[in-house]
Subunit: 198 residues, 2 copies
Amino acid sequence: MKEILRQVMSQTIPIAQDEWEAFEPHIFTKTVKKREQLIRLGQISTEIAVIIKGSFRQYHIIEGEEKTTFFFFDNQFVCNYESILLQTPSNIVIEAMEDCELLYFKNETMQRLYRLYPKYEVFGRLIAENVYLCAMERLNTFLLNSPEGRYRKFLEHHDSQQILNRVPQHYIASYLGITPVSLSRIRARVARQARELA
Amino acid sequence: MKEILRQVMSQTIPIAQDEWEAFEPHIFTKTVKKREQLIRLGQISTEIAVIIKGSFRQYHIIEGEEKTTFFFFDNQFVCNYESILLQTPSNIVIEAMEDCELLYFKNETMQRLYRLYPKYEVFGRLIAENVYLCAMERLNTFLLNSPEGRYRKFLEHHDSQQILNRVPQHYIASYLGITPVSLSRIRARVARQARELA
DNA sequence: TGATTTTCTTATCTTAAGTTATCGTTTTGC
DNA sequence: GCAAAACGATAACTTAAGATAAGAAAATCA
């Protein structure tokens, strides 16, 4: 099963056998039940996980309201990257939307590998570059698109089987930076326009 | 003058003498006049610069409209990081808002240093982590705040001497994801509320 | 310096998002 | 299996942002 992590990592940079063997013993498994919190408010993150099965959402709590700001699905890394990098208490919650199976390792393990194998340092850089590009792409949808435009982009970029049918709509609304009511109206508008075109 | 770059880099990680001497000959200077473009549309970026004096803005062109999405000021790195990382043509323009003086180096120089000195690889990772954190902070202002809230945060986080007085207001509006007219109204509203409190 | 352009504010009108509430429907938990 | 909770659509109303235009002030520059 740990091979899945190796495969996911290899999408970024190939890991040689000796490099893998130094890592492998420090990988563990974990299950998280639906609605359980993987990352809690105020906790300093020390672990990085990969999702074998299931999905998570990340949310801020703003004036008592949960604001969903990210989703995590199968074969993705899930962690509070900011808390790990800065060693600051988490200002977000990461919570299972389904029963989940995870592989995980300690950040300190990765820090040790950084020092022992240059390859892992490169891996660390590539990961950071990658999450930066993702963050920028998401930021640009806010800078360059209206709420309706963001919803249309969201539809284009996400397989409806993969996400739409697995995630309650009001989480998606929050993710798009709008209210559930507003998303419902946008959906009605978009559907009406699609019908008029046909 | 090149020492300024070393100082800026040292805010991230200290650079030893031999590491610096391998780098120093590959650093050059450049001046850019107000309104000149440092990064052009469609060009693949190869250079990374540090601003000694002056400021830049970054903009997308969407349906003929310039959408200002970022500012760069003194002692900051300026480049099209995405274009450099992915080796894709630039979808943005970076243009001088004032007459500017720059230090710059080729990305390939940094790539070579990555291989020669582990320290530079670490530097590369830390830079990537850093720009990620900045991108997330900016993304969160969109996810968690209204336009007025974003403007208030913008005021808090930016010295008005540093930015506000140097940057035309309609660029700031664009940066906040709103129209110039809307920003003008928000300013009037905020000022009125401040007056009522007093 | 005088003309032109840029910048910002203000006003009007339109459009869309926020708020609140209601009502079926589905899901969940005992 | 049933009661409670969660979910999504919709409606009515409020609020704020977008579009457009006009005008004053400031910056630019020839």
